[in-house]
């Protein structure tokens, strides 16, 4: 069943729903990247929650004018309007009052969502027969989705991806260096508005599939995952789109394969699994590589201090230091240096002395600032500079 779902064998409708979800995932991943790089990821949470009163109002308006209250394009249009007003409320509160952006986000999110719930309870008691099932917009549901709805979502996702491609240059410029962007003639407010408009588009399109509470996850988790792997913005965008698309594909497939498996939470959890794996294994920011780097640094410090102690004939008591020196054949079990160890110790002491002189020399100040107890002075100074330092230290003395 799962294999059928993933390979699009569950019939035309289910296939189209999955395709729509995948396009939505890609759109959310690429759009979310810019939002995340601009450090405004949680603004999307306010936008998403602000869609709820719009859905309620649109339902009431559609019903009162004698139309079908569940008409998806109408509901989405309504949700876009209140989401936009929520976005402006966040902007206004954080720029015109002393409240910081996070307080503005939280306030708008909770107030609009509360209003939406009030409207939902009003609708529940309205005397129209078609009891709306508007709650499905909270957590999303692809079950019983109409063909036209799936097409609408797929087209919306495609449109957002196309617009992101069109605006990718100014948006990455603004994300990385707003100051530079504005001095080079980019209109900051317009680009920010475009970015937020795209986020709003993704949110509205995603309401039916993932629901308004979890749509932020699609905008945040894939970009964060992609960011762990690379420092290049184009790659982050591509990877985020790919992670988002794959998560949506697997999530929608899993959800179609058994009853009682809601689509939205599954897509989010698949996405989080990709994040967890990346967090563990990513090359520079991953936990595993951080651990290796930390151990390497620790070993470097212990080796250096151990060699300096050997050179000065001091006893070593630290077990890790002795173990490291022994493992490299530089010391015996009783802590006495081997022949190789004596040579390396003398070299370490010479390096330390050279640094000491360099630090006391004003014209070498910049280079000397790189002293960290691990870097070899040969990596920082030229051989003439070192020769000059050696001249001031004097000739080498015999080590006992």
């Amino acid at each position: 069943m799962l294999r059928d779902a993933l390979t699009f064998q569950l019939g035309y409708n289910a296939t189209l729903v999955t395709v729509a979800a995948v396009l939505l995932g890609i759109a959310a991943g690429v759009t979310g990247t810019f939002l995340f790089l601009r450090k405004r990821a949680l603004v999307s949470d306010a936008i998403a929650h602000a869609t709820l009163p719009g859905i309620g109002l649109a339902f009431v308006a559609l019903t009162l004018s004698g139309l079908d209250g569940r008409h998806l394009p109408g509901l989405l249009a309504g949700s876009a309007i209140t989401a936009m007003s929520g976005l402006f409320a966040v902007q206004w509160l954080s720029s015109r009052t002393r409240l910081s952006e996070d307080a503005a986000i939280g306030a708008v999110l909770s107030a609009y969502f509360s209003l939406g719930i009030v409207l939902l309870t009003v609708i529940q008691t309205m005397s129209t027969g078609q009891q709306a099932g508007l709650e499905s917009f909270l957590l999303g549901s692809t079950a019983g989705m109409l063909l036209s709805d799936a097409i609408l979502i797929a087209l919306g996702g495609l449109l957002v991806v196309a617009l992101v491609l069109l605006f990718r240059r100014p948006m990455s410029l603004v994300s990385f260096d707003p100051g530079f962007a504005s001095t080079s003639g980019v209109r900051l407010d317009r680009i920010d508005l475009t970015m937020m408009g795209l986020v709003l588009g993704v949110t509205v399109v995603g309401l039916k599939v993932v629901g308004l509470i979890l749509i932020v996850a699609l905008l945040i988790i894939p970009p964060v995952t992609a960011r762990l792997w690379t420092n290049r913005v184009e790659l982050v965008v591509i990877l985020a789109g790919a992670f988002g698309g794959i998560a949506a594909w697997l999530g929608a497939g899993l959800s179609a394969s058994a009853p009682d498996l809601p689509t939205g939470p599954l897509i989010v959890l698949v996405s989080f699994c990709a994040f967890a794996v990346s967090m563990a294994l990513a090359p520079r920011r991953g936990l595993f590589s951080s651990f290796v780097r930390h151990r390497r640094f620790q070993a470097g410090v212990h080796m250096r201090q151990g060699l300096l102690a050997l050179a000065q004939g001091q006893p070593i008591y630290e077990p890790l230091t002795i173990r490291l020196l022994k493992a490299r054949g530089l010391a015996r079990a009783d802590g006495m240096p081997t022949r190789e160890g004596t040579i390396r110790a003398a070299r370490a002491l010479r390096d330390e002395k050279r640094w000491e002189v360099a630090r006391a020399t004003p014209e070498l100040e910049l280079a000397a600032a790189r002293y960290d107890g691990l870097t070899q002075i040969e990596d920082v100074l030229t051989s003439d500079q070192i020769a000059e330092i050696d001249r001031r230290i004097g000739p080498p003395e015999a080590v006992q």
Binding site: R98, I105, A107, S110, A111, I117, T121, L214, I221, L261
Partner: protein
């Protein structure tokens, strides 16, 4: 509505709503000032998987396992956010977004998968709460307030939320000076030798306590609204911390009572018979209060 009906159907939900609002608004002041306002939002989302987990383990809806489960979930969330922030070098907002959405999704999935049909635990209850159902059936009128038999039938949520509110108010009062100093000037607090990290963690724990207790009684939407709206509105009224906390408590109480009254009686004034969601109305009133403060508050700039 006569006195007897009021005591039976409105007094306890009003009290519980007001106490929950207070319990969240008081620590909310510090969250807003420390730019951690969304921590309240995150905590109120991650409480759900904790409660579902406690239910799956014990098989019943009882207070202590649920408190323990949700407190564990809150601590796990805070640790995860911190780990992602530090090791992954991800900005705090995004790290928070990753953690709370994923945990909330896990909670929803567990809830949908488990058989909770026999007990009062579902997604809508978790989100909107059920303030209207916390009635005092044993009460017959104001006289019941001194009748021990009727008092024994008070909803248990009332005792829990009262206890938590008192604990929160007392701990804020006791730690007022270190809290204030470390909130406004962390560097200065550190030079005074105050344990700033412990204070930061303490605020998170107190907020989690408030969120869990209030969630139990009134649902997550009131929790989020009360963590942020009253303190934010109070911030626009005054420059003094003491006054701000007092304003926020007043706003929280106004939002709770006005919201509950409007939800219960408002539709009737408009000629409709059915009440609307009390939790939603309380949050809406809190939002309106904030909007007024943002437009007219004396210290809004």
């Amino acid at each position: 509505m006569n006195g007897g009906d009021f005591v039976t159907f409105s007094l306890t939900p009003l009290l519980i709503g007001s106490l929950a609002a207070l319990a969240c608004a008081l620590p909310g002041n510090f969250l807003v000032l420390r730019r951690q306002a969304l921590l309240g939002d995150a905590i109120s989302h991650v409480v759900l998987p904790g409660i579902v987990l406690a239910f799956l383990v014990t098989g019943t809806i009882s207070t202590w396992p649920m408190l323990l489960g949700s407190a564990t979930a809150a601590v796990v969330a805070v640790v995860l956010i911190e780990a992602i922030r530090r090791f992954g070098r991800i900005e705090p907002g995004a790290a928070m977004g990753v953690v709370f959405t994923a945990m909330f999704a896990a909670g929803i999935l567990a809830l949908e998968q488990s058989d909770t049909s026999g007990v009062h635990l579902d997604v809508e209850h978790a989100l909107f709460g059920n303030l209207e159902s916390l009635i005092w059936l044993d009460a017959t009128g104001w006289a019941s307030l001194v009748d021990p038999v009727a008092l024994a039938g008070l909803p248990p949520e009332l005792f829990r939320i009262s206890l938590v509110t008192v604990v929160i108010a007392l701990s804020l009062a006791v730690f007022w000076r270190p809290l204030a100093i470390s909130t406004f000037d962390e560097g200065f607090a550190r030079t005074l030798g105050l344990p700033v990290r412990a204070i930061g963690l303490g605020i998170v724990i107190v907020s989690a306590l408030a969120a869990v207790a209030a969630f139990d009684a009134v649902g997550s939407i009131i929790v989020i609204a009360m963590f942020i709206c009253p303190p934010a509105a109070a911030r626009l009224m005054t420059n003094r911390l003491g006054a701000q906390v007092a304003w926020s408590a007043a706003f929280a109480l106004i939002a709770a009572t006005l919201g509950f009254t409007l939800a219960g009686s408002g539709p009737a004034w408009l000629g409709s018979e059915n009440a609307v969601s009390a939790a939603g109305m309380v949050g809406t009133v809190a939002g309106v209060i904030l909007a007024c403060a943002a437009l007219f508050g004396p210290a809004r700039n």
